[in-house]
Amino acid sequence: MAYEYSTPRHQIIYNKEKCGNAIECLKCVDTATNKVGCMCLGWMNTVDPDPKTQKKWEDIDWKIITSFMPDCFGCNACVEACPKDALALQKAETRVPAARIQRSDIVFCYTLKDGTKISTRDTVA
């Protein structure tokens, strides 16, 4: 039996329209990095800037990026820091740890509470 598994993690949903040009504020990034210490959020340009028309940081359009969300524990500080309501926390479903088969030469027979049998060998019932 194969488990389709990916590490569950909280997500931050970013609304660019509400935010505008992120460089004007950056309170969420500052909160995440310098107050909470999680470093889940960063910022970057939306497109490559044009040196002919854009001469200052503020001339460029910036967005928030969510980069290291496995480190998020859902404290909501970044959401609360945003003055424009541009962030929303989408909590992950926590789940029971997967049964992991560490060695393929040893038959591990696990029977879960719901009767599901986990085995490395097809021939074992």
Binding site: R9, V29, D30, N34, M44, N45, K55, F68, P70, R100
Partner: protein
Amino acid sequence: MCRYCVEYGEGTKWYLNPKNYAADVMTVTPHKEAIAALGGRGKNTFEMNIAAGADGAVPDTNYPDLVNMVLENVLNHAGQVVPIEDALKVIDLTFDQYDHPWLKQHCTCRKYFGQKPLECCLYTGRIADTSSEERPWEHDHKKLNREQVKDHLRHMSKARMVHALWHGGVQTDGIPVLAICSCAYPDCMGIRAREVYEAMNGMRKGEYVARIKPNKCQEGCGKTERQCMPFCHFGALRYSVIAEHVFTVPQRCFGCGNCRNICPYGAVEWHERSYFPALVDAW
């Protein structure tokens, strides 16, 4: 000796081989594309795109192999940790080959994750040529001559930063060093990727490992302040409450030299990585 050294070192470490610093090496793919990216308007995109995609690229943090498989397809730009003396040798090699200033500017990771944007990234002269024109919104560019660059690196080393060389990919004629950074855990994306996500593609371990001599450590500050311990960015220094001295964990040592540089008691031995034969494939 790493694979790069075997292929590109010609008897020495790859980054100490003068042939890798030849001007014509810089003009071929992928080096010229990396130089154009780092010296161009798209530099931020080139570097931050990796972080922007990181959350999607980390499917199952419990299986680092999956992370590495994804990164293999994304990253060509990679780097290697060096101790301060090798970083200084690299500077001499570049100035001897082409007398061209280095460009000092802000660290991408630290600026765009909100840390103090320390001006600590060094880019080779060829990148310095176009950067200021292509990125006029960046006002922190500074061109440095040989002595200024070396002073900067020594200063960063005293602040217990980790030095790493960066290149833009590997190609048969050589691997030129394009950048030298001086950064720290957890700010540095390179260190973070290795230490937090066990992602191997990116920052490689250096050519040396440290070893602590138990009796010297105990005669020193091993039972008291243990001065070295906060300065290992890689978790390679551990203290034993039973043995009462600091241990190095050779499998985790990146050969950055911080512990050796700070120990006032001479308790840290410094070796080529081959001193521990089992580390031959540990990069």
